[in-house]
Symmetry: C2
Subunit: 210 residues, 2 copies
């Protein structure tokens, strides 16, 4: 019964392999944060893990493949929160959930690494995949904003412009956030961003503003 034996064994190997890949991605994100993508070498990444560069090739053929894996990790997280958001009732609460979770992805999953900005360096097919994924998430946000406007919960803004502003605010975290820094804490940051960006959409509830 080679299958029953091979099954658990190979799944153990696969888990180990997946764990190792995540460690490499994390090391690349850290290195990228400090030196930028182009200055980061495979030696830098291997050095952070205490392994030889040659060992990296068991997992990734080159640096661009690691970058693509970083993007895929971030995109699959965005897809997951987009799915989870369907259970949150009402556009205001749903948008708030999406902003807070997106902030969490930026600070935890991506550790504030600006690698997420590197799209143009990817080969055409990979670039198209990343852009499709980002477009899908953008579409989800636009849908929530449009729904809020339709239902009268949000002001009549251009959902496209509002979503560009929201995505900019959240993605820009990669430019200034440093994990473990004494300053702004990730949890509070998600709440603060959601609060600020939701209020800008809220309908006038009292007298006119200046």
């Amino acid at each position: 019964m080679p299958n029953t034996i091979q099954g658990p064994l190979s799944s153990h190997r696969e888990r180990k392999r997946a764990r190792r890949r995540r460690e490499i991605i994390r090391a690349a994100l850290e290195a990228g944060r400090e030196k930028g993508y182009h200055a980061t070498t495979l030696d830098d990444i291997a050095g952070r893990l205490g392994i030889r560069k040659a060992a990296l090739y068991h997992y990734f053929p080159d640096k661009d493949a690691i970058l693509l894996a970083c993007h895929r990790e971030s995109l699959s997280e965005l897809e997951r929160i987009a799915g989870d958001s369907r259970a949150v009732e009402g556009p205001a609460r749903r948008l708030s959930f999406l902003i807070r979770e997106h902030v969490r992805i930026m600070t935890e999953t991506l550790e504030g690494s600006p690698l997420a900005f590197e799209v143009t360096v990817l080969p055409a097919a990979a670039r198209a995949e990343v852009i499709r994924g980002r477009d899908r998430f953008e579409g989800v946000l636009r849908g929530v904003v449009a729904e809020g406007i339709e239902g009268g919960e949000f002001r009549a803004v251009d959902p496209k412009v509002a979503v560009f502003a929201i995505l900019g605010a959240v993605n820009w975290i990669a430019r200034w956030y440093r994990p473990g820094g004494g300053g702004i804490q990730p949890a509070g940051l998600g709440d603060a961003f959601a609060d600020y960006l939701l209020r800008g959409l809220a309908r006038e509830s009292g007298r006119a503003r200046p």
Copy 2:
């Protein structure tokens, strides 16, 4: 009287030189928007201007020098609007002015080019200069937000967090904006961003919001 003759002559030459430098910067921004900084070559830039690559060396020693010039142009514009903003009365109107003008810089001066994202590739001294300039502008925005909170015009948010959100929203324009596209127009964009980002700071003027 060699001075009176040389004066106008050399200032004519200087103007011509400055104009040529601006053309090169503009061509680099356009090329950078399409291909990314690293894929852009000096040949690409020269080709857009219909000149030989060798001619570029009269103005810039290398590609990094062009990138630094792009940053300096953008920073001097930011400094200019920070100065101009002092004449605008009241923190809400001043912040609105700064956001609208910053959007204009992103769409006109930088033509939505993501070159503005390239900081890590610069040599240390140039990088420090750019970061100092950006920090100064950030400080101006924080001051305006803090003043608005103190005067009761804005809610008691963390000025640091609010300014990161504002800068993110505006800087992110480089990631999606395409000049001359049929979509979002620059003028309307500045107003829409100022409106959205100001409202998120405005104090409750009526009954409490959800």
